[in-house]
């Protein structure tokens, strides 16, 4: 069974981003970039399925600038077998990404797509669901447990108020939530080995898909800053403030 894992290069989760003064976006110059944390969990899950003998090949794919090769190499160091980069200078929306990924699915014919539930830059939480729609596959979103057996995948999903388990026909799309697994660290020998693994670069424009979104960003601003509050020196003082000043209890 082949598993396809789409991954995204994003601002590292420890970086506090700053909005540009001209309100066109956030300042990404000289900012540390990383593999999106949910994508890392997706790669880990796919590699574990391979180690368990369920998957035979793990293919990672990213869409973006040439620099996304770094994140693909990271995924290869974590255990993926080969990588594909659909290169573009454009900043794509989820729908366009899903359309490109649908083409990759058509070419690669994976039995399972494992994808992060959301990228921590755009916070969209859409691509996996859209890819499932465009390829006619079932979807198991926000997975905390994935079991593949008998041409089906059972996905335990994190939902508001608890957990839900669904069973999907393969091929299917699974999107990862935080508790699915704890990704490994890439070892130095594996980082070296990853440099020799195949990485194909294809122009994203070559698929004949309109890559421009119908959604235009008018401006990006900084959020309203909260007023600094006061420190209280005891529980008594806190309770008094909450009762008399804030009047919330």
């Amino acid at each position: 069974m082949k598993i396809l894992v789409p991954v995204k290069r994003v601002v590292d989760y420890n970086v506090k981003v700053r909005v540009k003064a001209d309100q066109t976006g956030v300042d990404l110059a000289n900012v540390k970039m990383s593999l999106n944390p949910f994508c890392e969990i997706a790669v880990e899950e796919a590699v574990r399925l391979k180690e368990a003998g369920i998957a035979s090949e793990v293919v990672v794919v990213s869409i973006g600038q040439n620099s996304a090769q770094e994140q693909l190499r990271t995924a290869l160091a974590l255990g993926a077998d080969r990588a594909i980069l659909l290169e573009t200078e454009l900043n794509l929306d989820s729908l366009q990404v899903a359309k490109l990924l649908a083409k990759v699915v058509e070419n690669e014919q994976p039995q399972l797509v494992v994808i992060g539930k959301q990228a921590i830059d755009s916070d969209n939480n859409q691509t996996g669901q859209m890819l499932a729609a465009l390829t006619g596959m079932g979807q198991g979103t926000f997975a905390s447990k994935v079991v593949v057996a008998d041409g089906q995948v059972a996905v335990t999903r994190e939902i508001d108020g608890g957990l839900q388990t669904v069973s999907l026909k393969l091929p299917a799309v699974v999107s990862t939530d935080l508790r699915l697994n704890e990704p490994r660290y890439a070892s130095l020998p594996n980082i070296m080995k990853a440099k020799k693994k195949p990485l194909d670069i294809i122009a994203a424009e070559s698929f004949g898909i309109v890559l421009q979104s119908q959604v235009k960003v008018l401006k990006v601003t900084a959020p309203a800053v909260r007023q600094a509050g006061v420190m209280v020196d005891s529980v008594d003082a806190l309770v008094a403030k909450l009762k008399q000043e804030a009047k919330v209890i």
Partner: protein, 310 residues
């Protein structure tokens, strides 16, 4: 211009998120239809018809909609949706599950987690865990939006919109419901609670969350947690408040033993009053707190519980 809202419910009861989504829709236009798709869901349909601002309720009552499987619900919404200018759902795990599927099948973008309606085509949404706020304009024929319910006040009840029964049955045959484990709690839900008390890594283990329970009971509060506490295995993920968990905006948010990582602040910084209790005076949570108390939570919490009863 007619707006379709997909209701969130458990067959008998409509979730408060739907009344808040209706409030967002009222700022876009005045012809608002609510779709209640479920099985034996007439209770939820009646409650939807009572919401002020709703002009019609559509009910799709069939076994294939019982468990709200994304594949089946999306197929139904796509069938109905082409006649609408806007399709809205709450940005809950349910809305986030099926609505992108709808958008892709309609070949339009989805705009996620809308916190403000500027006009019928212009919307405001947080990006980068709320560290930046984007204003976006959509040129799509159908605007598909998920609404962050904590940013809108629920509409009132007191309407009696007509209810139309649909006959569509969309069994996509791609997925099957296996089971569900819902956390049972006497306390209010996180996203609906007026007061929330949350614990972080400083709680040290899951047992210590009991220290929050007594206070929660006295304040009729919900109990939340930071991602650090979830990652450490103290509590289940459905208690998580943050960028990757639930986004809340209660009247009072009490953060206990929470340092205030960016991703946690993204989930609670719109709360009206924030209280932080942490033994580390340098913790970033104090920068957003209205009231800060530098104290060891293991002495402060029992004291707070005792003081609340007097």
């Amino acid at each position: 211009m007619t707006i379709l809202i997909i209701a969130e419910h458990n067959q008998q009861t409509l979730k408060a998120d739907t009344a808040k989504t209706v409030a967002a829709a009222c700022q876009i236009g005045s012809d608002i239809h609510v779709l209640v798709a479920g099985f034996q869901c007439s209770g939820a349909a009646a409650q939807a018809a009572a919401l002020v601002g709703v002009s019609k309720v559509l009910v799709a009552d069939a076994a294939c909609y019982e468990h709200q499987l994304a594949e089946n619900i999306a197929a139904l919404v796509v069938e109905l949706g082409r006649g609408y200018s806007h399709i809205l759902a709450a940005a809950t795990t349910h809305g986030k599950n099926f609505l992108p599927r709808v958008a892709a099948l309609l070949d339009v973008a989805q705009i996620s987690d809308v916190i403000k309606i500027e006009s019928a085509d212009t919307f405001v949404r947080p990006i980068y865990a709320g560290n930046a706020i984007a204003t976006v304009q959509s040129a799509d024929a159908i605007k598909v939006l998920t609404i962050r319910s904590s940013a809108f006040d629920a509409v009132n009840e007191g309407n009696s919109a007509p209810i139309e029964v649909l006959s569509q049955q969309n069994e996509a045959g791609l997925s099957q419901f296996v089971g569900e484990e819902l956390t049972k709690s006497e306390r209010p839900e996180l996203t609906a609670a007026r007061i929330i008390i949350s614990g972080g890594r400083g709680m040290q283990n899951g047992d210590n969350f009991k220290l929050l329970e007594g206070i929660a009971d006295k304040l009729n509060a919900a109990i939340g947690a930071s991602r650090a506490a979830v990652d450490a295995g103290f509590v289940p993920n459905d208690m998580q408040v943050g960028q990757t968990g639930k986004i809340v905006a209660p009247d009072l948010y009490i953060a206990v033993g929470i340092s205030g990582a960016i991703q946690h602040l993204a989930g609670m910084k719109d709360s009206k009053i924030i209280v932080a209790i942490n033994k580390d005076a340098e913790a970033p949570i104090f920068q957003v707190a209205d009231y800060g108390l530098v104290a060891d939570l293991f002495t402060a919490l029992p004291e707070l519980e005792a003081k609340l009863s007097t």
